[in-house]
């Protein structure tokens, strides 16, 4: 770019709307994430399962293929019904992939600002702490939405279109479950990743803590169960909690843990998620600041 002016210049023209400025760091963060070939490859891989599902729905409605398979003795309708269970499995697979996507991207979004005192540069401008969190959360929500509820609803729409004859009306609960279940999971996941990254600041450690919370919860709950003979420890297990919510939303059987179904009250699962959201917001409010004050 040719540069004609090389001195301080005041600016008196129109400014952008303050309400949309949170999209600026979101845009830059998104560009930075996709500079990593590894991340781009993983994000692309996350769309493989939805493509498999598209193929499955296509197979399910290909009359010639169905006839050929039926003549070979394979009843597709029996082993591959497209119903709430199908979308429940889709949710579980993509929800897990969303977790790994957040694991790769979440700590990176915040730690690089915190590592070199970059937050002061954001907050010394007409840009608030909540806008900062909204910017980072937007990145995670866009990424994870792109592999969860967006392809999920497209699949649901494809199935409804191909099946016709009132399938959509009969299975509207699956669409709602995809949407609500995804958002509940993605918001918790996003806020938790940001809060942990802001708290520990060091990217690998933040990733470790996220893994610990997701996979260590079951171990903790099992220990609580063995020691106190109660299943309530599972209310603090994020993995169990979200699967319990999804099962309830899709009206599918309760998830199995350690070889038996766990059926804690649904309110306890929602309460656990809400508590986690509250805790994450509290951590963010305390950690996202221009400077630490040593009292």
């Amino acid at each position: 770019m040719a540069v004609y002016k090389r001195s301080f210049r005041p600016y008196a023209d129109a400014l952008t709307r303050p309400a949309t400025r949170f999209l600026v760091p979101a845009r830059y963060a998104m560009q930075d994430l996709f500079r990593s070939k590894l991340f781009t490859a993983f994000a692309t891989l996350c769309l493989v399962f939805p493509l498999i599902c598209v193929f499955a729905i296509y197979l399910r409605h290909n009359a010639d293929l169905l006839a050929n398979l039926a003549s070979a003795g394979v009843e597709v309708e029996e082993w591959m019904p497209i119903d709430a269970t199908f979308f429940g499995i889709f949710m579980r697979v993509q929800g897990m992939l969303a977790f790994f996507l957040v694991l790769f991207s979440g700590p990176r979004l915040v730690s690089r600002d915190l590592a070199n005192n970059g937050l002061a540069l954001y907050l010394c401008r007409p840009f608030s702490k909540s806008q900062y969190v909204a910017a980072k959360l937007t990145v995670l929500l866009i990424l994870t939405s792109a592999i969860t509820w967006v392809p999920g609803l497209l699949l649901w729409g494809l199935q409804a279109g191909l099946q016709g004859s009132g399938w959509g009306a009969a299975n509207v609960r699956s669409a709602v479950a995809l949407f609500v279940g995804s958002w509940a999971w993605l918001i918790v996941l996003g806020l938790l990743a940001l809060a942990i990254s802001a708290w520990v600041r060091w990217r690998p450690v933040a990733g470790f803590f996220l893994l610990l919370i997701f996979f260590g919860g079951a171990f903790f709950a099992r220990v609580v169960e063995l020691l106190f003979n109660t299943e309530w420890g599972y209310a603090l297990d994020l993995h169990h909690t979200v699967r319990r919510i999804w099962a309830d939303l899709f009206a599918t059987p309760a998830p199995f843990f350690f070889g038996r179904p766990l059926d804690l009250p649904i309110w306890s699962a929602w309460a656990a998620l809400l508590a986690l959201v509250g805790l994450s917001l509290l951590l963010l409010a305390r950690r996202i600041r221009a400077y630490e004050v040593v009292k």
Binding site: V3, S7, F8, P18, R21, D32, R112, G118, A120, R289
Partner: protein, 305 residues
Amino acid sequence: MTPVIELDGLTVRFGKLEALSGLTGAFSAGSLGLLGPNGAGKTTLLHTLLGFHPPSAGSGRVFGHDVVAESRATRSLIGYMPERDSFIEGMSAVRFVRMLGELSGLPAETALERAHEALYAVGLGEARYRGLETYSLGMKQRAKLAQAMVHGPKLLFLDEPTNGLDPPARERMVRLIREIRDSGHVKIVLSSHLLRDVEECCDEVLILKNGKIAYHCNLEAERQANRKFLELQVRGDVERYVARVAGLGCEVAVDGKQRLRLVLPPTLEIRALYEAAAGDGVEIRHLDYKRDSLQDIFLKAMEQG
């Protein structure tokens, strides 16, 4: 005219520590130097005006905007160059400055154009596509200055801008600050514990000590007020001459064999010193006004405050 900064009993406490204690004053200088030893409250004052710390009591205003109630409006007028190393990892200088320009409200295209200009202005034109983490300390300081000025603020807060710089880099930074000041488009608040930086860049000085204002002065006015301090170098009967000028009402100190320091009484003209010297056969080889340096002002403030 609205003062640049107004303080009204501004107090900031961190737990039991009172970092700023009832600061009051109005400052309108084109460039204000904040001086004080480490821990005097200079950075805390800047941070409070930026809305980083809420005042425990009192208030502060920047161009008439309350720093708490109108924090967003206040920050939109300010460009801030922090003291500590502050950058965003993995970004080139031009991307870094552009993003921060956009955060200040510049449209994307304008921000890009101005980011290039700002980086040229601070002398990083050739290095603007390099990653910030590869910059030397001096270059990082200049990148911080570029991000502070990219959106064309009305007021620049420069917190220890020459910290850690070698003499040529310091000289360059001071020259840059003077150029920005002389453009007349922006007011500057320069916080430093280096007297020379402030002396070279500022019109007014606010000296802080233990969170209180120890002294506030206009440097030029202060220098003018001290025109009655003289330094003389004489040859001849010094003792006799000292007695003679003391008789005229001067305060005299002998500094070495032939060097005198005088404070003239308000009514006495310098001509009388020459007449006295001629009467005693003493030669005045050198006569100069002994202006108070900023160091003198600072030391006095430290003693009094």
